[in-house]
């Protein structure tokens, strides 16, 4: 995903003077899209022709979109993550045991959630995130078991 971005940038710089901006090409989104099928690379089109293009398109469709990304500028103990297709459901429930943790949804019309984690020394932010997720999963296991127990008890009580 990253490479074509750079290429597009160069080609855009080369092809158009700074004043001549085609509005269609201006990003509709505030943040550049990750799974960007719309940005067509003119260089590659020329080289590969139509057939090559088709194959590339198919590949792009099948390629799995990376849903968690570490935002640049992070250090091992203080990092920001970007989650795609997650929201308050996960963001608010995720509470790792760290120095600082917060989440934000930068814009409601984009399916993105950012999480900031700052750890104490000894663990990294990624480890803390993984532990947070696992702990939440274990909590789910416990609640499932407790719910099944409660249901059995309720059924037994109402039968007698």
């Amino acid at each position: 995903m990253a490479k074509p971005k750079v290429k597009k940038d160069e080609s855009a710089t080369a092809a158009e003077p700074a004043s001549d901006v085609v509005m269609d090409e201006a990003p509709t989104s505030h943040q550049p899209e990750n799974d960007d099928n719309m940005s067509v690379d003119p260089n590659e089109n020329g080289e590969e022709g139509e057939e090559g293009d088709e194959i590339e398109d198919e590949e792009e469709e099948e390629e799995e979109v990376q849903r968690v990304r570490l935002l640049p500028g992070s250090t091992p103990t203080a990092a920001s993550f970007e989650f795609l297709n997650e929201g308050h459901t996960l963001g608010n429930a995720l509470r790792p045991d760290v120095e600082f943790c917060a989440y934000a949804i930068p814009h409601p019309s984009e399916n993105k959630m950012n999480v900031r984690i700052q750890t104490f020394e000894g663990t990294t932010a990624i480890e803390a995130l993984q532990k947070g997720l696992r702990d939440l999963q274990e909590l789910c296991d416990v609640v499932t078991d407790k719910f099944i127990d409660a249901r059995e008890r309720f059924v037994a009580a109402s039968a007698s």
């Binding site: 710089t13 308050h88 459901t89 719910f147 249901r151």
Partner: protein, 345 residues
């Protein structure tokens, strides 16, 4: 918050506790305690919007001489609750190998009614007939709970009018469209005496007299007269009232809700474990643009103003390979209203 399950072994009261107070085929009233509000709320959100069910998604109308427009009827059909038992074995049609839809990812229903009598005819959900192969014998059948066995009314026909159509029901979640919602409503309540002051109750002269007590008020200690406000208190007991819309029994909605939440987590854990090694998550291959982590410690090349959040359009910050704002504002976008490429630092 620490979710360490090890401490839960000591005593029942230390871990999360589930109590069911009332249950029938339509609703479960239950209490979840000893967890945080964030988990309880996540569960509520998941039960509302992310449990997969089945609903009519495509309608092919062959004949419609009723007074209602085709799309009006199609919309009504979409909202009819269909039995979602065994939905786990049904694929999302976007994940299916077939072209369009097949028996692995959809259920076909047909409706054909013609008013041949002298009086207006009512067409009900029971007249929707599932056809073709199905994963099991109930998946996709309209839910009929009334004593006459009719189901929801779809439309009425005058003498001589006819409706003939074929529906394709697909799997989906309520986040996409509310017709896939498994629950009609989920009651969620905590702190019935408002001890935490999360509510600011409007009143004319006396809130106690004007606000009827919650049905859970008797379950918790009422505040003592003149009791000081405990600003450290957090909500601890959550009262759910899960009412099904029909597709799934209410207890299945709860267990499916937890399952969906776990699948969400498992997917992320898997992805983190998968990509953590090859530079996927740790942003090496990522070339600027978009939001950044706040620089922690040494903010190289950053001044006080853009140390926090660099927009993709103003290319002043360090690491100028961003897709939309290039070095020194020399890109095509440099002079757009989106970012004055040169300023900012």
């Amino acid at each position: 918050m620490d979710y360490d399950p090890m401490i839960m072994d000591d005593a029942e009261a230390l871990g999360p506790v589930v109590k069911i107070s009332q249950a029938d085929s339509v609703r479960v009233k239950w209490e979840l305690s000893n967890t945080d509000i964030s988990f309880a709320n996540s569960l509520r959100r998941v039960m509302l919007a992310e449990i997969p069910t089945i609903a009519i998604d495509l309608v092919e109308i062959e004949e419609n001489s009723s007074v209602l427009a085709d799309e009006f009827i199609a919309h009504r059909l979409g909202l009819i609750p269909l039995n979602a038992e065994g939905i786990d074995s049904l694929l999302y049609s976007r994940d299916c190998d077939c072209d369009g839809c097949c028996e692995h990812c959809s259920v076909r229903l047909i409706l054909h009614a013609k008013c041949t009598g002298d009086e207006n005819m009512h067409v009900f959900a029971r007249d929707l007939v599932p056809t073709g192969d199905r994963i099991n014998q109930v998946l996709g059948t309209p839910i009929i709970n009334d004593s006459e066995g009719l189901g929801p009314l779809i439309l009425k026909l005058r003498p001589g009018q006819e409706i003939k159509l074929e529906c394709i029901a697909k799997k989906g979640i309520a986040k996409e469209h509310a017709k896939w919602a498994p629950s009609a409503a989920i009651g969620f309540e905590y702190d019935p005496h408002n001890k935490l002051h999360h509510l600011d109750l409007w009143y004319e002269s006396d809130p106690k007299a004007e606000w009827p007590p919650s049905e859970y008020a008797a379950w918790e200690e009422p505040p003592q007269e003149g009791e000081p406000f405990d600003y450290d208190a957090v909500p601890n007991r959550f009262y759910f009232n899960v009412e099904t819309a029909g597709p799934l029994p209410p207890d299945v909605i709860i267990s499916e809700g937890i399952k969906v939440l776990q699948q969400k987590l498992a997917g992320l854990i898997h992805e983190l474990a998968d990509e953590g090694g090859d530079g996927g998550v740790n942003g090496d291959g990522y070339n600027g643009g978009g939001p950044r982590s706040p620089e922690y410690g040494a903010g190289a090349g950053m001044d006080g103003f853009n140390g926090g959040y660099t927009t993709p359009f103003g290319g002043a910050a360090a690491g100028n390979q961003s897709a939309w704002g290039g070095a020194g504002g020399a890109t095509a976008y440099g002079t757009t209203p989106y970012g004055a490429g040169s300023s900012w630092s």
